[in-house]
Subunit: 336 residues, 2 copies
DNA sequence: CACAACGAATGAAACGTTTCGTAAAATAAA
DNA sequence: TTTATTTTACGAAACGTTTCATTCGTTGTG
């Protein structure tokens, strides 16, 4: 871990090349310099294997070309995917990414924000459900999936439209009576618009529906209970289910299997997120797909946008539907 | 993106508190200082909302408390999990993590290593299959899953023992004739020891076996072909399969389903890695589980170890077996 | 040929820390 | 009270860049 080897500095390069310090700086930064100088400096850089010290640069410029990503973890496939695409989007703009996994812990989230500011990151992209998070006004911040006040732009998929789309699909697939299942944060966050969208969609497609909403900490068993009490004479009283996430849909699918109810023959199931096994193989269920690469790109664009005024408070990106084996498609899509 | 607001410096704090610069530095770093001074300085820090500039610290100390993680992506569940636990392990030691997703691109890998050195990161943890990667001798490096010469320590699970364990399990489950399937890099990397371990295990448990090895770029169809040509009268000629990864096992499982061969009734299937759906739910298949949290911890320990001599070239951590529905357990484990 | 005008290299100063030799204050000994 | 000794705060220097006012050398014009 020790760094006793002393790396050459611009001064060394200048001495080696027999030019001034400023000239080396110019060459390194691609600014115009007389050819004879440039050649000598480049030779010296080669010879000494010189590398700029970007922390000295950062000190001078008060800019670090680093952005912090605040996210609960990288294990949940949705977060993992966001992380990956945000990393790529930042790379494209020559920014580095400091990963801050918070494990949903408000304390860690706050610590990371403070740390991020100490590190003088140029901005923060944050997916957090902590309502009390204090973000310093002068560190640019972009939120994902939760609005954090008018000063902070929020990037999300069009959750409302996603809910509508799910209802529309279920109606199109012949469902008459459907259910919406949600577990998760009761906060006024973006994903909770899926419910409203679904209701709207059900109404406009003449679907009758039921809702089962669980908040933080509620046990999964309540869903099982909800389902079993809707079984009469071995038949489920609804023929379509929309789950707020693929994760939940996956659990429900297993539960249904355990109860001897067939998916999709007895009940059709649609999830939300567009999670795939192993990143690029099958979908776990038929699902509303979030445009993760676009969302990532948008976050980075907004964060690095020079004109602070041009930051709308909320950006919704369009969702799509994908077949994943839990619906009775008229013409099944190719399941890869 | 602009930072016109000028943050207070130590000098400002010193002036506010009426003490010397060095005194503020000591307070900030928790070094002994007279109580009356400490109190005044702390008050001033509060008042001005002072934050240390860690890039100035880095410039001075030539140390940045930042480690780069070089990994193909964060979407593959195995990589995602490694990323998460390495992040945690680094946090514990108060280090930050710069995420460098390489997408298997040797060019990007090299760029990142160079960049990492420019950023003066204190070390690199790398999972890369690029045999030509040039790593500067004086940037500490720890490799995952591939040995990169005696100077660079490599952390892996005990792949050989994992292969043996798979054979032992299949034998214990009553298999007589088994197959090993592998696709992936032909490089002399750690995961390729799974094959050798499996062979050894088969021999010591009197299992006859066949191997199907595909290298980079070979199409998956060859596996299908391999399987179909081992079907005689609708029966598969082997009763157990060990796949080199869960990912492959997952694909093979689907293929078998398509061919009307039942898992685990007709053929039992064991994968490798210990991937779970959605990060913490069911295993995708019965599998040899890599101790990812331990591996992460070990990488960080090795990297930050002061004594360079105490870095063994290869560390193998123990694997375990987990039931995931693709084997006929005598007493099936609880499937969560 | 003299002088102005321009272009380009120079190098000192500054960024915000940490460190360390020096000086002052406090305590102990005479 | 004076001197010796210890303790503690002080503040200049240094880390490796970038910037910009200055200077030097060149070319063009009268």
């Amino acid at each position: 871990m020790k760094k006793d080897f002393s790396t050459p500095t611009m001064k060394d390069v200048a001495k080696e090349a027999g030019v001034a310090l400023g000239t080396v700086s110019k060459v390194v930064n691609g600014l115009p310099v007389g050819d004879s100088y440039r050649i000598r400096v480049e030779a010296a850089i080669q010879k000494l294997n010189y590398q700029v010290n970007s922390y000295a640069q950062g000190l001078k410029a008060n800019k670090t070309y680093t952005v912090a990503l605040l996210i609960p973890n990288t294990i949940d496939p949705f977060y993992a995917s966001l992380t990956y695409y945000i990393n790529i989007a930042l790379m494209k703009k020559r920014y580095r990414m400091l990963l801050c996994a918070t494990d949903y812990d408000p304390r860690q989230e706050q610590d990371y924000v403070t740390m991020a500011q100490q590190n003088k990151v140029d901005g923060i992209i944050g997916l957090t459900y902590n309502p009390d998070l204090i973000v310093d006004e002068n560190t640019p911040f972009v939120a994902i999936d939760r609005s954090m006040g008018t000063k902070i732009p929020c990037v999300a998929c069009d959750n409302f439209a996603g809910g509508q789309l799910a209802a529309e699909k279920l109606a199109g697939l012949g469902c008459k009576h459907v259910a919406f299942l949600r577990s998760g944060s009761a906060l006024d966050n973006e994903p909770n618009k899926r419910k409203a969208g679904f209701e709207t969609g059900c109404l406009s497609h003449n679907l009758s529906y039921e809702m089962k909403i669980l908040n933080d900490g509620d046990p999964f068993e309540e869903f099982e209970h909800f389902i079993t009490e809707h079984i009469h004479n071995g038949r489920l009283s609804f023929d379509g289910i929309f789950c707020v996430t693929d994760r939940l849909a996956f659990k429900i699918r297993n539960t249904l299997k355990g109860l001897g109810i067939r998916v999709p023959e007895d009940v059709q199931l649609i999830g939300f997120d567009g999670i795939r096994s192993f990143g690029n193989m099958n979908y776990h269920c038929s699902t509303i797909v979030q445009p993760v690469p676009d969302m990532a790109e948008m976050c980075v664009d907004l964060l690095l946008r020079e004109n602070t005024m041009a930051r709308p408070p909320l950006i919704c990106l369009p969702v799509t539907y994908a077949y994943g084996g839990t619906t009775l498609e008229e013409e099944p899509y190719e399941e890869q």
